[in-house]
Symmetry: C2
Subunit: 190 residues, 2 copies
């Protein structure tokens, strides 16, 4: 079973080491990890594209060739997960294959958003939280925007939320491993 | 042609008025707009689900029933677009249908991210921009994360970036209209 390893891990200074470690953990669970930066089977397909678009085409081809996706949904430069990762999650859900995710932040989306907004967050006349421009906050106790939590549930996946010390939030892989265990069980029909 | 109207517009205090206006503009171009909060043809399907999950299932059903998607990609609480919108964009791209988007911010993703990070943004030894934790910034001159720009290009869509005064960024629909015009041309095979 090939697993696409979505996440902002590609932006880490030690991205290659993280790729190797995630693949090692996949192999321990009988899974084959595919990191976004892995070369394509047919690299010639990218030759004509601009650099950034070649990356897009490669990632899309990787996702299509994988049987499942595990996303690092740790909040990235704002209350939500990395936008590229979220795009890939929606893409794989539409293909009807298992999607799982982990976040190294346990606080729910509403409280993270209020923290992000700071003093501009306020309650409106109806008692609902809104931002400084009056746009509502989602208050469902979820990990992120409901499309993310919902997509994972609809795909019969798992979304692991763990409270991880700030300094370890890009390297702690306990949530990732929990996803792999769930995927290995799913694969065995367990 | 049914068009799913993705965007954080659902969070606006006047979301219903925005839905009506977007649908009116769609109709002017011979298109049928579907707003995320529109009721489902079969609302009984949502009865058993929790409130948030019923919303997810409804939105997913709307997207599957639409022929194209136009996304409001105006930066939302951080350098990137709203996470739910980005999920839906990836979802529709995977279905192989046209996806288009507009952003009422003309500045590119890298400069918006540097502005968001403030003094923690710095150049590493290789001269590349990174954040305070050393994670790289994408510097391609794009509107957002390359998966977003790439998905729209791969779908033969249009991504409109316009510089709109801050106070009008949630209500200005010129970019939206440009997407509708492109979609109407696409529909006519033009």
């Amino acid at each position: 079973m090939k697993v696409y390893l979505a996440g902002p891990d590609v932006f880490l200074p030690e991205a290659a080491a993280m790729a190797a470690e995630k693949k090692r953990l996949c192999a321990l669970h009988g899974l084959e990890g595919v990191f976004p930066t892995d070369p394509r089977p047919d690299p010639a397909a990218d030759a004509a594209a601009e650099a950034w678009y070649a990356i897009y085409l490669r990632n899309e081809a990787h996702i299509r060739a994988c049987d499942a996706l595990v996303a690092n949904l740790t909040p990235f430069r704002g209350p939500s997960a990395d936008a590229g990762t979220v795009y890939e999650l929606g893409f794989m859900r539409a293909l009807g294959r298992p999607v799982l995710g982990y976040s190294n932040a346990a606080a729910d989306f509403a409280s993270r958003t209020r923290h992000f907004l700071g003093p501009e967050a306020r309650r409106n006349e109806a008692g609902r939280w809104v931002d400084g421009e009056g746009l509502a906050l989602e208050e469902f106790g979820l990990a992120d925007n409901l499309m993310i939590d919902g997509g994972i549930r609809a795909a019969a996946g798992l979304l692991v939320r763990r409270d991880v010390p700030e300094a370890a939030r890009w390297t702690d892989l306990a949530g990732f491993e929990a996803c792999l265990q769930a995927l290995a069980r799913l694969r065995q029909g367990g």
